[in-house]
């Protein structure tokens, strides 16, 4: 799949933003006033910024409001509804925290759940696609959720939870790769089944239908950079989880140093997740590539 910057930014940022909102909704940290304002600005900047980025890959963003209608069947529609609901609920909750210095616990829990649900619906947009076996796995939502929680915890400064969540997310990431690498083969879709010609002999794609490129190839077939996948995985794992873990576990003295380390941990995590998401798309092979002799 084409690793479009818009979807990489979207899934990374909104995952992180909603992760932070999740923790804020649970009152972790239980901040109020200006400090709360800063936290919510960060959370909304990430969540809304991510959502806005996602509209860049739309042909008609001005019609995006129509996307709320099909919640019965469409995960994308559900995501939109969840996101808006989460943002509204958390906005109310934030109002209380920032201006009234009060935490409306029930509202916060609802907001937290909606935030998590948003991340889950986002992940289901990918998970539901049988056409991309590497995504069509239970580990896909697990990965999105664990990343969101780990990132959220990191941002929220949930010192107790963050190391555990980072470790879990790292483990899920490893499991995802391990399972994902065999997913296409396990799905059983081959050029033989794609053409129905498999029982006649070995099928090989000869000339493509057009000598130039097309939407499908641009969107679904991305082979550039895949050969660096193993290196990128190490980098991603290191930046997203190992380094942040190290940075928050190193005992340091002084609030400034601590905050600098925390900031570095967040930036490292963010970069690592971006790399992971790049791999998430770039390594995902759509079955339609078979028709073109490419994956």
């Amino acid at each position: 799949m084409h690793p479009a910057p818009s979807v990489i930014i979207f899934t990374t940022c909104s995952g992180l933003g909603f992760g932070l909102l999740f923790f804020l909704g649970l009152g972790q940290p239980a901040v109020t006033g200006f400090v709360a304002f800063v936290f919510y600005v960060i959370a909304y900047a990430l969540a809304v910024g991510g959502l806005l980025a996602s509209t860049f890959h739309l042909g008609h963003p001005e019609r995006a409001w129509k996307a709320f209608s099909q919640w019965k069947s469409s995960w994308l529609s559900r995501e939109g509804i969840c996101a808006v609901a989460a943002l509204i609920v958390m906005a109310l909750y934030a109002l209380g925290a920032v201006f009234l210095h009060s935490h409306w616990t029930v509202l916060g829990w609802i907001g937290a759940l909606l935030s998590l649900a948003t991340v889950f619906t986002t992940s289901m947009i990918y998970t539901q696609l049988k056409t991309v076996p590497r995504w069509n796995m239970n580990l896909t939502p697990a990965m999105f959720l664990s990343f969101s929680l780990a990132g959220g915890a990191l941002l929220a400064g949930a010192e107790a939870l963050a190391p555990w969540l980072l470790a879990i997310a790292g483990a899920v990431q490893l499991a995802y790769w391990a399972q994902g690498d065999g997913a296409f083969a396990r799905a059983g879709t081959t050029l033989g089944s794609a053409t129905g010609l498999g029982d006649r002999g070995n099928v090989r794609a000869f000339e493509p239908p057009h000598t130039g490129t097309n939407y499908l190839l641009r969107e679904f077939v991305h082979v550039v950079g895949r050969k660096h996948a193993q290196k990128l995985r190490v980098i991603s794992l290191g930046l997203a989880f190992a380094l942040p873990l190290l940075l928050i576990l190193i005992p340091v003295s002084g609030l400034v140093v601590k905050h600098i380390f925390a900031l570095l941990a967040v930036l490292s995590h963010l970069t690592g997740v971006v790399v992971s998401r790049w791999l998430f798309f770039a390594q995902a092979e759509h079955v339609v590539g078979l028709y073109y002799g490419k994956r």
Partner: protein, 249 residues
């Protein structure tokens, strides 16, 4: 409306004969012509006279080589467009309801004025049947020429998809695959028509007729008696045979 109908009154679709398709691309261009001028926005072309021409097409002809265990490799031309699946994932994923499957005939269509161009329907389609038009930012796909097949401004004989009407080799057939007595259903039964990627569970309406076995002549024909039993080994003997045979004529 992105939920799929429980069932459709008819299952209109195409039957494509891989035994006969010569790979001429007539269907591709006829489709381009009709659908540029008709249903929805035109099928645009980018860099039309430049280095990377790339346009929207609703139907494309691939080609594959099959190497059997015995005998020479075979080349098979393979036209592919929307298969109008019964369980069309492209419909259910659509967030706006722009994608839908018609109750009356099962045709999968995009209501372009509702399409936000998110591309998810194309992601969900295993067949590569949907292409986002770059100029207009909406999803384009085979309409089964819904603006031809019922069109009262066309003579009845022409109320078929443009790819079917134009196919020189007659490798494309159109009809109701939900009716077991239709010509297309009979053809599918007789020639053991097949589904593409059945494991995807999409239940495509369009069927493909497999190529007949090839390169069997040496097994099928007895090259000796009586067909090729020599009447003589030498020209002289041949002339003797000739005389005798002419006597009998």
């Amino acid at each position: 409306m992105t939920q799929l109908p429980q069932s459709t009154e008819r299952k209109m679709g195409l039957v494509i004969d891989l035994d006969t398709c010569v790979g001429c691309h007539a269907c591709v261009i006829s489709c381009k012509g009709w659908n540029t001028e008709n249903y929805g926005v035109p099928l645009s072309d980018q860099d039309a006279y430049g280095a990377n021409p790339s346009g929207t097409f609703l139907n494309r002809v691939h080609s594959y080589e099959v190497q059997p265990a015995e005998g020479p490799a075979q080349l098979i031309h393979f036209p592919k467009s929307c298969l109008h699946c019964e369980d069309a994932p492209c419909v259910t994923v659509c967030p706006t309801g722009a994608s839908y499957k018609r109750v009356e005939d099962g045709i999968v269509l995009v209501n372009e004025s509702d399409c936000i161009g998110c591309g998810l329907c194309a992601w969900s389609c295993p067949y590569g049947a949907r292409e986002l038009d770059v100029a207009e930012g909406v999803m384009k796909k085979c309409t089964l020429c819904v603006d031809r097949i019922y069109n009262e401004n066309l003579p009845e004989v022409d109320r078929v998809p443009s790819c079917v009407r134009t196919c020189p080799a007659g490798a494309r057939h159109f009809g109701d695959l939900g009716d077991p007595d239709s010509d297309v259903s009979k053809l599918v039964a007789e020639r053991e028509g097949m589904d593409l990627m059945p494991e995807m569970g999409t239940k495509p309406v369009n069927k493909y007729l497999p190529p007949r076995p090839k390169d069997q002549i040496e097994e099928q024909i007895d090259i000796l008696a009586p067909l090729l039993a020599p009447v003589a080994e030498e020209p002289k003997g041949f002339l003797g045979w000739l005389d005798k045979t002419l006597e009998k004529l």
